[in-house]
């Protein structure tokens, strides 16, 4: 192991080399060498952070009690994501820090995958093990056969490592398993995506239309806050959902639609707006392309036609369309977030985008605003090596419109087949529990078994850590620095995360892991900063701040470079589409051989005795990430299955009774789940909250609590346009005993 003396020398060399090649780097703060040690122990009354419990990443403050122990986390008033108010998960984030089930030390597998038999290892040994394996796999198969799957802030540094190593297959399941279709659809229509946080101007809207989106149960903080503001100001809400969601109860119109038929309703709304002449004629004339095609296309898609499909009465379809038109352009047909449902999701999102275009809401107050973010340069590094193959080569002529990497695509490409030009041999997984994220678990396991190296970097033992060859314990967000948060918003703003305490146990931040691994792989030139403080301070100084300033304020908001949040009246705008217009008729989809305008196709319906499995979020939990958090378990410790009373009486089910769910492929839930008999769900569907039913015994509180929707999603309806994995085509029935265990032969 390198001693202190060697470490200083290595760091010194790295800096010297770069300072010569880049004059800007000469400004590097030598003073930092003196400041370093003060930053952690400087007696901060409160430490700035941004939350890592979900992707919204609210900025706040960590406070300690009189004993100097981490006590509570509260919002930063300057932060546009939280406006000084954290959601229950962020407030309960301390539970993640204090969780005694945390991963505590590096682990190396000693037996076959799937059995959790590990030995403890030192960091040096674990990183050597990984580096040696990566080198030999790289030599045998090519370095492109390494993939990074990440859904955490640390992914930034691991991504640098991967690109330096020679692969660009970096994926977050939040694309192909979540918001990908809406991003592609809005790109096809407006030439820009919706982004995160969504650019929806909810606080100033007069009418909010939600298609299956359960704002309030999904606790996307700023959005929930703005919904509340809008309700205060008298906005009307139209909610389309087979479930009487929380927000449905606050809506002027709740449309209890038959599941899987949303596209028919959207097309009927488009029909009504056009044929009743309620659309924004000036906007459509000035900014859009293909109106006449669209008019012809939806000619027969009347409310009466949609009634037979959706079970929503024609009069309600017309009246709700009128409600939107009267609010226009201060109206939002919300694109939603988790939208991978039925495999035609890009087309459904296209219909949503088209509706917004007809209502003239894109670029208008109370519709969609034009967000801005800050340009922050990366720490200078040598150019990345050229890449000969990527995940895309496994799918020739497919998914050309996917702008991001498909996590499920990497999974598919890992399963060895002669036809795929790129098989992955190494996965590095950070902050995403793939077995509960990518549908069809048996396929994910097949892929994992084809790997030669699986490294999992996480704070908690999860299902995926049980399959790892090497487990690296990451410290929680309360114990580490991370990359600067820089998300698009009404005003450009940045937020800093600083450690409020030294890492507990032998856990380390991802940036440290990436930098140390880079040394062992001979890639240290890509991480030439001496300390993370030095690097962040340099980045912050490029945008007119400093680490010292950010330590005090946590969030810094900048002026917009383009002052208008919305289009000016009559402004000429060129959109980033082929025609430079908002494309009602998509030329890009047409040239790829897809329907240029959305077409409704019926989806399979549940067979007799089966019910469509609908899943969603609870405000107190994020994915499967929080189900062991003691603060949040007090609010909700397990999920329950919502069953309509008519169905409950058919099956003689009682409230609180435990049942197993079995899907159309005979897959039965590992654990039973309690029944909640409620009028709030349609008779053709059941509903559970995602993220429960953990089967890793190392999660002492979450193990065996509730059922996992993920294991019941074996039918995947693939979106041919961008590879999204539609997950709402699964049907379940009730069983009263566990599945018979296979007898070992």
């Amino acid at each position: 192991m390198a001693n202190r003396r060697e470490f200083i020398k290595i760091a010194g060399l790295g800096l010297g080399g770069l300072a010569l090649s880049n004059p800007a780097m000469r400004a590097l703060t030598n003073t930092f060498l003196e400041q370093d040690s003060n930053l952690l122990t400087g007696g901060l009354a409160r430490t700035p952070t941004y939350c890592e419990i979900c992707f919204w990443k609210c900025a706040g403050w960590v406070s300690k009690d009189s004993d100097g122990k981490i006590w509570k986390i509260t919002g930063n008033d300057e932060d546009q994501h939280s406006n000084g108010r954290f959601c229950p998960r962020g407030t309960g984030g301390v539970g993640m820090y204090y969780d005694e089930d945390r991963l505590k030390t590096p682990l190396i597998r000693t037996e076959e995958r799937g059995k959790q038999v590990f030995r403890e290892a030192s960091w040096d040994e674990a990183l050597d093990y990984i580096a040696d394996k990566m080198k030999s796999i790289g030599e045998e198969y090519g370095r492109e056969c390494t993939a990074l799957l990440t859904h955490g802030s640390g992914g930034k540094y691991l991504g640098t490592l991967l690109k330096a190593y020679g692969s660009n297959s970096i994926a977050a399941p939040s694309y192909a398993q979540c918001r990908g279709p809406r991003e592609v659809a809005f790109h096809m229509t407006f030439g820009e995506g919706v982004q995160s946080p969504e650019r929806t101007d909810i606080r100033d809207t007069s009418c909010l239309v939600l298609i299956g989106s359960h704002i309030g149960e999904n606790m996307h903080n700023g959005q929930v806050q703005e919904l509340s503001d809008a309700i205060d100001k008298g906005a009307s809400v139209i909610t389309v959902d087979p479930r009487y969601s929380t927000v449905a109860s606050k809506s002027k119109y709740w449309l209890p639609i038959k599941p899987a038929t949303d596209l028919a309703l959207l097309l009927a709304w488009i029909h009504v707006l056009i044929y009743e002449g309620w659309y924004d004629k000036e906007y459509v004339e000035k900014y859009t392309y293909g109106f006449e095609y669209l008019k012809t296309h939806v000619k027969n898609m009347t409310p009466e036609w949609a009634y037979g499909i959706t079970t929503i009465e024609p009069d309600i379809i017309r009246r709700s369309a009128r409600e939107m038109a009267e609010a226009s352009p201060s109206v939002i047909v919300h694109p939603g977030r988790h939208v991978t449902w039925y495999g035609d999701d890009t087309q459904r999102e296209r219909a949503i985008a088209i509706l917004n275009a007809l209502l003239g809401s894109w670029g208008r107050r109370g519709g969609f605003y034009m967000p801005e973010s800050v340009e922050i340069p990366d720490w200078p590094h040598p150019p990345y090596p050229e890449i000969k193959r990527s995940w895309k080569d496994a799918f020739p002529d497919q998914f050309n419109l996917a702008y991001e990497t498909l996590a499920s695509g990497i999974c598919d490409a890992t399963i060895p087949t002669i036809s795929k030009a790129c098989n992955f041999k190494t996965w590095i997984v950070n902050g995403t529990n793939l077995l509960k994220t990518i549908p069809d678990q048996s396929k994910v396991i097949e892929a994992i078994n084809a790997l030669e190296l699986l490294v999992v970097i996480d704070t908690m033992p999860m299902e995926i850590t049980g399959w790892a060859d090497v487990v690296l314990p990451e410290c929680t967000y309360l114990e580490r620095y991370d990359s600067i948060r820089n998300s698009p918003h009404r005003k450009p703003a940045i937020a800093i995360r600083m450690p409020a305490s030294e890492p507990l146990y032998d856990s380390k931040p991802a940036y440290w892991i990436a930098k140390e691994l880079s040394k062992k792989l001979g890639l240290e030139d890509y991480f030439s900063w001496g300390s993370i403080e030095e690097m962040l301070d340099w980045q912050l100084k490029q945008v007119g701040s400093s680490l010292e300033e950010m330590k005090r304020i946590g969030v810094k908001t900048f002026d917009r470079s383009y002052p208008d949040l919305y289009f000016r009246d009559g402004e000429n705008i060129e959109f980033f589409t082929n025609t430079g217009k908002i494309e009602l008729y998509s030329t890009a989809l047409a040239s790829e051989g897809f329907d240029p305008m959305p077409v409704y196709t019926p989806h399979p319906e549940p067979p007799e005795g089966f019910y469509r499995l609908i899943y969603g979020r609870a405000p107190s939990h994020t994915f499967s990430r929080t189900s062991n958090n003691v603060n949040l378990l007090d609010i909700m410790e397990e999920n329950v299955v919502w069953v309509n009373p008519r169905i409950a009486s058919l099956w003689l089910l009682k409230n609180g009774q435990e049942v197993y769910l079995e899907n159309q492929d005979g897959i039965r839930s590992t654990f039973p789940v309690k029944v909640r008999v409620t009028e709030r769900i349609r008779w053709d569907s059941v509903y559970i909250v995602h993220g429960f039913g953990h089967d890793n015994k190392k999660l002492s509180r979450a193990y065996g609590k509730g059922a996992s929707d993920a294991e019941l999603i074996t039918n995947v309806m693939m979106d041919p346009i961008m590879g999204g994995t539609g997950m709402r085509g699964n049907f379940v029935t009730f069983k009263f005993e566990p599945a018979k265990k296979e007898v070992a032969s």
């Binding site: 006590w71 509570k72 509260t74 919002g75 108010r85 954290f86 959601c87 229950p88 407030t91 309960g92 301390v94 309030g216 149960e217 606790m219 903080n221 929930v224 806050q225 919904l227 509340s228 503001d229 309700i231 205060d232 009487y244 929380t246 927000v247 109860s249 606050k250 709740w254 209890p256 405000p619 107190s620 003691v630 603060n631 949040l632 378990l633 007090d634 609010i635 909700m636 309509n644 009373p645 409620t678 009028e679 709030r680 769900i681 349609r682 008779w683």
Partner: protein, 177 residues
């Protein structure tokens, strides 16, 4: 001075952030709570109504818990806040039995505990932890004797109800409907 709270049931989404923030702020042991969220469903599919309420001690003007307390541990302080003095409490549970709102619990350390309106915070001019954290801003707190306070303003302009008014406790939590 008369402290009171209003809860806007039209805005509350039942996220329980108030409960989490209260537990952390007041070191309430895991498994216990000074606040809770109630969800009431009425009707049958698809003609439904849902009311969500964030609930806590009503800090009643005519508080049965104070009247029945044998040691004087339960008492009312300035501003009408009902408190329990832990040192004087013998944990007999009479107050728990007398409260029509089930707002009190037995702390594992042997005394009875409940919402204090975060007295320690309001002394410093802050709002109670639940009010400060609520993402939907559906909780309003303040002095009923001050017409400009948040709580006075909302109950002046909105319809509201109190819980179990027939118990005669004169509760000081108002639910905007």
């Amino acid at each position: 001075m008369r402290y009171a709270m209003a809860v806007d049931t039209k805005k509350c989404v039942g996220c329980s952030d108030c409960v989490v923030a209260c537990q952390i702020e007041n070191n309430v042991p895991h498994g216990y709570a000074r606040e809770w969220v109630v969800e009431l469903v009425d009707g049958s599919y698809p003609n439904l109504e849902l009311e969500i309420r964030s609930e806590r001690c009503n800090h009643c003007e005519n508080a049965p818990c104070v009247r029945c307390c044998p040691t004087g541990a339960s008492h009312i302080v300035e501003g009408g806040i009902v408190l329990v003095e832990h040192n004087k409490c013998i944990g007999c549970g009479a107050c728990i039995a007398s409260c029509p709102y089930d707002a009190r619990y037995s702390h594992p350390k042997g005394y009875v505990d409940k919402c204090t309106f975060c007295e320690h915070r309001i002394k410093d001019g802050e709002s109670p932890a639940c009010v400060a954290v609520c993402p939907t801003k559906c909780l309003y707190f303040g002095d009923l004797d001050d017409p400009r306070s948040d709580v006075s303003r909302v109950i002046k302009n909105r319809k509201y109800k109190t819980l179990i008014p027939e118990a005669g406790t004169r509760p000081q939590i108002f639910f905007l409907t």
